[in-house]
Amino acid sequence: GKVPASSILASAPSDKNLDAWRESGCRTTHCNLEVLQESTLVFLATKPHVLPGVLQEIRPAVGPHHIVVSLAAGVTLQTLQRLLPAGTKVLRLMPNLPCVVQAGAMVFARGSGAGDGEAALLKSLLSSCGLCEEVPESYINIHTGLSGSGVAYVYLFAEALAEGAVKMGMPGGLASRIAAQTLLGAAKMMLETGEHPAKLRGDVCTPGGTTIHALHQLEKGALRATVMNAVEAATNRACDVAED
């Protein structure tokens, strides 16, 4: 997006993760410390249980000029700041899968050492991957439940839409593509018009028409409550996991 590939240095224990980086023109290494030496903005993208070990490893090389951004789910700013030198600029980021197609939803929270400049930099860089907003740390688990896991809910819904169409006689491949486009289009309308989804829903419902009949079915199935339950369950799980 906003940074030339040559300015990016990626580090991983084995080559299998590094090929993709090399292919896009980034430099690679197996040495974490080298990343700290070469770079100002450092993203920590390890699995959560691996992170404490990595932090211990890089700690000696972390300086006041570094900006450390952790993507590890459930690892709090408090933990990150504890394992790094006092005053280090630390931020915590939670993306979601569609970042890979530049339509992600990301939230980040800043630690005590990070200021407006760092927040603005991160937001500016990540906006090329989708929506990026700063939030209080307490929203990060909610974001997981809403959007991190939320992507899966959408896939489930899309699959069900397509199956309905198949039942009514449409071939699966076509049904799937149309289902996806329907979701994409509806989402785009929400984002671009800024109108309340309830209003947009009403706009589609002609009196006595097909849509209102279908919506009645969804209401009968308590879809709304089920979705709320899902977001709640994922959020709670994120909180539980974080405490481990």
Binding site: E219, K220, A222, A225, N229
Partner: protein
């Protein structure tokens, strides 16, 4: 009504003779008999307004056409809160009713709430929504009050607060450009009390219950209308049992006003189910 200065008579005939606008406010099975009785006295100036659920304009026009070539018929559907001037009324004009006739009715009914014209085929849906609607609201209010009582409020206060909450919400919606979904959001602070409560409502399928209710009422109205049209029970049989009782038990009333409006009403005994 007499206390309000309304004129009173036991004669439907007198009522028709001294009025221009006739409201037929009898139970649907009685309508045909009222029409037969007053038919001969209907003149061109009369506007016959039927409030009887499920009774079609065409059925009334058919009945009256034996007496009057171009009867002016308007069908309306209102609801009980007209009593407190917050009624919801719709009307559909018949073949020979002019625009001014509709407007006259609209003016009259607008004095007791909201009134608008609709196509006749929507009247069943209106019945389901605002005709029966107050009953849904009373049920909700009773339950809300129970909730209040459960959590410690005295019953009277709980009822008063529940009713005021619904009244206020309805008023906000009517006066706002915003979608009810947006107004709902405005009440729900993140992680707060209201959103927790709403989740319960959604889990119980609250919305679908209300949709079901409106649908059921509308469908039942259509069924009743259909049954009435078929006239399964011989009119003579109904006439014998019902009409005599009606004449004995309750007088009809007539209201004198500037535009001479008549109100026919009778307490109908529990009629045989058609």
């Amino acid at each position: 009504l007499q206390k309000m200065g309304v004129n009173f008579t036991v004669s439907n005939k007198d009522t028709v003779k001294s009025s221009d606008v006739l409201f037929l406010a009898v139970k649907p099975p009685i309508i045909p008999f009222i029409l037969e009785e007053v038919g001969p006295d209907i003149e061109d100036r009369h506007i016959v307004v039927s409030c009887a659920a499920g009774v079609t304009i065409s059925s009334i026009e058919k009945k009256l056409s034996t007496f009057c070539p171009t009867p002016k018929v308007i069908r309306c559907m209102t609801n009980t809160p007209v009593i407190v001037r917050e009624g919801a009324t719709v009307y559909a004009t018949g073949t020979h009713a002019d625009v001014e006739d509709g407007k006259l009715l609209e003016q009259l009914m607008a004095s007791v709430g909201f009134c608008t014209e609709v196509e006749e085929d929507l009247i069943d849906a209106v019945t389901g929504l605002s005709g029966s609607g107050p009953a849904y609201a009373f049920t909700a209010l009773d339950a809300l009050a129970d909730g209040g009582v459960k959590m410690g409020l005295p019953r009277r206060l709980a009822v008063r607060l529940g009713a005021q909450a619904l009244l206020g919400a309805a008023k906000m919606l009517l006066e706002s450009e915003q979608h009810p979904g947006q107004l709902k959001d405005n009440v729900c602070s993140p992680g707060g009390a209201t959103i927790h409560a709403l989740h319960f409502l959604e889990s119980g399928g609250f919305r679908s219950l209300l949709i079901n209710a409106v649908e059921a009422s509308c469908i039942r109205t259509r069924e009743l209308q259909h049954l009435a049209d078929q006239e399964k029970i011989s009119p003579a049989a109904i006439k014998k049992t019902l009409l005599d009782k009606v004449k004995l038990e309750s007088p009809s009333l007539s209201m004198a006003s500037a535009s001479k409006v008549s109100l026919f009403t009778s307490k109908s005994p529990s009629s045989k189910k058609n």
